[in-house]
């Protein structure tokens, strides 16, 4: 015991020594860095005086100090300011925050990270401190990235807009109009207001007319950008609907089986993605984590397909030709699957989108396209192409189509219809798994996941016309697009109601959907 305490004491002492050494070394470096970073630094005493004034009781002295330091804008002050903040009371901390933000943003203007540069430029613009203009102009000169340049230019113009010189204001307003800057609209409107006041001078009016022109320019652009974004959102929602209902449509069309467990097969796919992610976390180096999603897609397809095979063999194969019973049985299976997932996984599981799928790309001014949506659109196109190839360009597809058209005749000609059924069902289930995998990019993974989407998928399949691939595609585009068209003006709740009403009305006109199956077998 005694010995161990002794050694602990020694350890402690040597640790303290080490810390002291580090501390001395650190202060030395800081002392050495000070003059090296800023060779032409102003007399230290002024800055020190201002730093001392920061903690002053007197409000005006404090404000003057903040102003002085902010004009000086020396980033190396940041460390000292942090030290002051840590020991200061609340009013000083409040006064320090904008100053420190400004200094931090100045440093970040030359950060290697594009997003950081960009947000630093935007923050400097919205902070309204004209002292930042020279920094921004300096940063603009060697900025390679297009959208960072845009943010810097916008910020410079925004700061100039707040100046007192009308000529500067007019150039800034014109520039902002050219930039189509949505951020400038409130400030421009204010100028417009000032110009229309009774007491406005000729200069004010000149500024106001420049502001009016700029606002018009921005508004016209905004309506175009809005239209473009609506179209993108419509396509994005449509592709989600499509990817969910493809499997359902194939199974429904081929076998006449109303698979109520389709949503739960999506859930199986989503959990397969989750498990893949956990495996990557547990067994692979962190660098490989970003690629888990590529692995999880085939994994969720296979897992869901196996589930589908089992479901077909154990439940559906006994109930062919009895659609109502199949519906009930698969409904039961879906409840079992939900509870099983709840018992095994609990109600909370999160899938972390890989870094290459989070964030988005700026397509043009005011239009920002998230990567995950783009990915899902591409994935749905891939799925449709895959299905088309499989159905119309392979021997298996030929058999599937033959069985769909005339089961008895195909059977007579030696096609093993039972096998075709089983494989088609597994394939449809696998597609549901892929859909579930894609959905983890948007929502969360929970046992009720399938229930959220199953109504939408059925709506698409029925509207499209049962068993028609083309119908499913057109219906999902129509429903998704219409939804996004209605949502901005009606809100999420009423647009959903409206869509349902429209679908009901449509089905009364055309009970068999958009694309009806023509020919003799239609009523068999």
């Amino acid at each position: 015991m005694g010995e161990s305490r002794l050694s602990e004491g020694m350890l402690l002492r040597s640790l303290i020594g080490l810390v002291l050494v580090c501390f001395c070394w650190g202060t030395e470096i800081a002392a050495a860095e000070g003059p090296r970073v800023k060779p032409a630094a102003p007399p230290v005493s002024l800055i020190d005086q201002a730093l001392a004034d920061l903690s002053s009781e007197d409000q005006s002295t404090q404000e003057a100090a903040v102003l002085f330091l902010s004009e000086r804008g020396d980033p190396s002050l940041l460390l000292k300011l942090e030290a002051i903040r840590d020991s200061a009371d609340r009013s000083v901390r409040l006064a320090l925050k904008p100053l420190m933000d400004q200094l931090k943003n100045r440093i970040n203007l030359s950060s290697p990270d594009v997003d950081q540069r960009r947000s630093a430029a935007a923050d400097l613009g919205s902070a309204g401190k004209p002292g930042a203009i020279p920094w921004l102009e300096a940063a603009l000169e060697n900025e390679p990235h297009r959208w960072v340049r845009y943010a810097i230019e916008e910020s410079i113009a925004l700061l100039q807009l707040a100046s007192t010189n009308p000529d500067d204001q007019i150039t800034a307003a014109t520039k902002l109009g050219e930039l189509r800057s949505q951020n400038a609209v409130p400030a421009l409107k204010e100028l417009l207001q000032q110009g229309s006041d009774g007491s406005a001078t000729a200069q004010h009016q000149a500024v106001a007319s420049a502001a009016r022109a700029a606002i018009e320019q921005i508004d016209i652009w905004a309506s175009w950008a809005g239209a473009f974004e609506t179209i993108f959102r419509g396509i994005s929602l449509s592709s989600i609907l499509l990817i969910m209902s493809l499997g359902l449509a194939i199974v429904f069309g081929l076998m006449g089986v109303i698979n109520m467990a389709h949503g739960e097969l999506m859930m199986v796919g989503a959990y397969a993605t989750f498990v893949t992610q956990e495996c990557f976390k547990a067994y692979l180096p962190p660098g490989a984590f970003d690629y888990y999603f590529l692995v999880s897609m085939p994994v969720s397809f296979l897992v869901a397909a196996v589930f589908g095979l089992i479901l077909e063999a154990t439940v559906i194969s006994f109930l062919y030709g009895r659609p109502l019973e199949t519906m009930l049985a698969t409904w039961g299976v879906s409840l079992v699957l939900i509870q099983a997932a709840r018992v095994y996984f609990g109600d909370l599981t999160s899938v972390v989108a890989p870094s290459w799928l989070s964030g988005g790309v700026q397509a043009m001014v005011g239009v920002y396209l998230p990567y995950n949506r783009i990915f899902i659109i591409l994935l749905s196109i891939l799925c449709v192409c895959g299905i088309y190839f499989l159905l119309f360009r392979t021997g298996i597809g030929l058999r599937v189509r033959a069985v769909t058209q005339n089961r008895d005749m195909s059977s007579c000609l030696g096609i093993p219809t039972r096998k075709v059924d089983a494989y088609t069902f597994a394939f449809g289930s696998g597609l549901a798994g892929v859909a579930g995998c894609a959905l983890t990019l948007i929502g969360n993974v929970e046992p009720g996941l399938g229930q959220n989407y199953i109504v939408d998928s059925f709506m698409v399949v029925v509207t499209g016309g049962v068993g028609k691939l083309m119908g499913t595609i057109v219906a999902s585009l129509g429903i998704g697009g219409l939804n996004k068209l209605l949502e901005p003006s009606f809100g999420a709740v009423y647009s959903k109601v409206l869509i349902l009403v429209l679908v009901v009305v449509f089905l009364q006109r055309r009970p068999s959907g958009l694309f009806t199956i023509k020919g003799r077998h239609a009523d068999t």
Binding site: Q182, P186, A222, D347, G360, G443, N444, K484, V493
Partner: protein
């Protein structure tokens, strides 16, 4: 004939005597038995009900409340129970189905005859069980913040009223310290809590001279997953700065909302989201990298630095591990869990003070009672069935915990009727027997 008659009479008398004696003995025995039974009943466990959705859209939040109530019960039982009697919980699952809530509440009160019920999260579930509790004179401890405008004899509200969460949160956002925000996007799930809260907040903002054009209001259905359009609108609204989102989105819709918010390039610095229904437990199920810097307003956080909270957090983790609950030691505590937890203890204190589990006696014993909760001492109000608690604003950190950025001075007195929408109304069960009109 006569002899026969005589003998039969004698026989009859004797027989009736025996019958009387037997009856006497029987009745005595019966009394004894009854007494013995009643004695046994004293030592029988006290049944309490737990009414939380263990499935459906609200399971993401409510499962943990069930767990923490069971933990509190286990704690109390380990220390000998209430008045020497153990507590026996009856857990039911209303599955996020509001009608089922009323049915299950009735089952708890009428069939299981529980002494008290701990439960509900959404206001719609509380509203649907309210008539059941009032008709059967049951007692409900409701642990979640809510929209107010309610004053029931049969409910104790251990969560926050609007003036203990939503209003201070918006006041914070408007203050210089909070960022001086001037435009507000009120976004919620479409049901009674968000709609009423936003009605109060709108009245408050208008009273504080925020122009109506700078207040947006929008609702989505439960389970809504597609936030593309709404986030697009927020982005447009927030252009030019000084706009904040006030989120009353409930349940699992929060995940797609925050994901979309980040993916469309909006940062907390552009427009912070102040949420009233996102706590540590919801964050556990989310990818938090996108959420850093957004805000929430509650009366408790797991990061509250008190010795009793450290014990509470450690106890809960140990409880989850011991009982093999999903996620085990990785589980976290949050505000409604704390409120559910101290609700059980407040009830236990009241039962012991009243010396009975009878609802009317317990209710009186709750008034003005205090308890050293994990987040610090709280006090049940003397008259309005709500709880005096502190208000804390927190900022989301990378690990899914909250950094407390603002804290009320002391406990805030609950006001079920907001001063902005119903300045003339109050709630008082001592002087006024319920809701009353304040005299000017």
């Amino acid at each position: 004939m006569t002899t026969a008659a005589g003998s039969s009479r004698r026989e009859f008398l004797a027989q009736s005597g025996r019958v009387v004696a037997a009856a006497g003995v029987a009745s005595l025995l019966g009394n004894l038995g009854g007494w013995a039974l009643s004695y046994a009943a004293d030592k029988e466990p006290i049944k309490i009900g737990i009414l939380h959705s263990l499935s459906g859209t609200m399971a993401i939040s409510e499962v943990s409340l069930k767990d923490v109530v069971l933990m509190a019960v286990e704690e109390i039982n380990a220390k000998g129970g209430v008045m020497g009697r153990k507590i026996k919980p009856v857990v039911v699952d209303p599955a996020s189905n509001w009608d089922l809530f009323a049915e299950k509440a009735k089952q708890l009160l009428v069939v299981d005859k529980v002494a008290v019920v701990f439960g509900c999260w959404t206001s719609v579930s509380r509203k649907s069980v309210l008539p059941v509790f009032e008709k059967n004179n049951g007692l409900l401890f409701y642990p979640v913040q809510y929209e107010g405008e309610e004053c029931s004899h049969n409910v104790f509200y251990t969560g926050a009223a609007v003036n203990q969460q939503a209003i201070p949160a918006v006041e914070y956002l408007m203050s210089k310290e909070g960022g001086g925000y001037k435009k507000f996007y009120l976004l919620g799930t479409d049901y009674v809590y968000p709609r009423t809260t936003n009605k109060i907040l709108r009245a408050m903002l208008l009273a504080k001279k925020v122009p109506a054009a700078d207040i947006m209001e929008e609702y989505t259905p439960f389970h809504h997953q597609d936030y593309q359009t709404i986030v697009g609108k927020v982005k447009k609204f927030a252009a030019g700065g000084k706009a904040a989102v006030i989120s009353t989105i409930n349940g699992d819709s929060n995940v797609p909302f925050y994901k979309e918010f980040a993916n469309q390039g909006l940062r907390a610095e552009d427009a912070p989201i102040m949420a009233f229904s996102v706590a540590e437990d919801e964050l556990r199920g989310m990818d938090t990298t996108a959420l850093v810097g957004h805000l929430a307003a509650w009366n408790y956080y797991q990061s509250v630095d008190t010795p009793q909270n450290k014990k509470f957090v450690a106890d809960f983790k140990a409880y989850c591990k011991k009982n093999n609950l999903p996620d085990g030691e990785k589980r976290v505590t949050d505000d409604p869990m704390e409120a559910a937890y101290f609700g059980v203890h407040i009830w236990k204190q009241a039962v012991e003070k009243a010396g009975s589990t009878e609802v009317d006696k317990v209710r009186k014993a709750v008034y003005g009672s205090k308890f050293l909760a994990p987040g610090g001492e709280i006090k049940m109000d003397e008259a309005n069935h709500h709880t005096n608690k502190p208000v804390l604003i927190g900022e989301i950190l990378k690990d899914g915990q909250f950094k407390i950025v603002s804290r009320s001075k002391g406990l805030v007195k609950p006001e079920p009727w907001s001063e902005y929408t119903s300045p003339d109304k109050g709630c008082d069960w001592i002087g006024h027997q319920g809701t009353y009109q304040k005299k000017a």
